[in-house]
Symmetry: C2
Subunit: 200 residues, 2 copies
């Protein structure tokens, strides 16, 4: 069984939304599994010294336009959220809690979060918002709310984030294929080529 | 006659090398002209607060690997220069001096500079090195050396850099098509799509 492809992302990352739409189909076309791994990009940025794209005055206008045209080209809904970026603690914790029960539902939940945030421009930072999205996958809202404050789940997200950083992950989206890293939604063609050729 | 496509770049930028190999053929396929516009990326970075990619510890390893694999995929020579990045004043001044006499030779000179620097890993920062490359386009080395210290040429590069920044250029490569900006060698597919569809 070949290694799964790892898809690292932060729920607050527009380019993760654009990659998430495509990555499973791409990877599965090569008989591989894609594992989604949300993590706290802000923790990685402390290492690289990077700032959110919208913190740079000139780049901010550029990337906002870029997101809108990418959405148009990928036929995705797009609505720039008012609150951007945000610390995606609640959706990330909920993801791992769901994942340990049903990985497929965790992906569906993650996609719903990204679509709700970037497609509709709605808040997904609050526990209430996250519980409502998880409920659409069949989870009881009160159980989700309890999980979000569970110490084991809190630690799980910390551990997943630390593990990602240890592997050299520093952006969103970021893919690892057999130890080789690929940064950015723009690198999907390269992930594809790598899967096809098996390396260099 | 449609507007030319503008290709902004810094001679010290690996991703400019990867884009330069492809951009003319891409643009000319749509009956457009491509105008090459070297500028001083460092001046733009003062505005955006960005640092050279190799200044970030984790990113540095990533991008060096990325450049090598891109070169492999594009069948380009690659040899990481020892002196990197550098302030590309000499090649940029020479470019505009050549351009005013023969735009086609200016492009050939620019490509030769990029290939010498990134393909062979040789220094192109010195006046001597730049004069030697210009000589391969038929220019007398002593005339190139004189031009590099010419006040009008110095001012020309300052003006071109200021004009690029005024247009919102902040990276390398950066393309402008009918007022729409595209940042990165990864955005060539989007430049192509824009030229095909005429916009959104």
């Amino acid at each position: 069984m070949p290694n799964p492809v790892e898809f690292y992302f932060d729920f607050s990352s527009p380019y993760a939304y654009f990659a998430a739409q495509q990555i499973d189909r791409l990877v599965e076309g090569f008989g591989r599994e894609c594992v989604w791994k949300p993590y706290m990009l802000g923790a990685a940025m402390k290492n690289t010294g990077a700032q959110p794209l919208t913190e740079y005055p000139v780049k901010s206008d550029y990337v906002k336009n870029d997101w809108a045209r990418l959405a148009r080209f990928q036929e995705l809904n797009w609505s720039m959220p008012d609150k951007f970026p945000f610390a995606a603690i609640a959706p990330s914790r909920a993801f791992y809690w769901i994942h340990d029960q049903d990985p497929a539902k965790a992906k569906a939940f993650a996609w719903d979060c990204l679509e709700t945030y970037f497609g509709k421009g709605e808040d997904i930072s609050s526990k209430d918002a996250v519980a409502a999205i998880a409920a659409r996958q069949g989870f009881a809202e009160d159980e989700v709310m309890a999980a979000l404050d569970d110490e084991a789940i809190k630690q799980r997200l910390k551990d997943e984030t630390a593990a990602a950083i240890d592997k050299g992950v520093f952006g969103s989206p970021f893919f690892i294929v057999d130890g080789e890293g690929f940064w950015g939604a723009d690198r999907l063609w390269m992930v594809k080529r790598w899967l096809k050729s098996g390396g260099w």
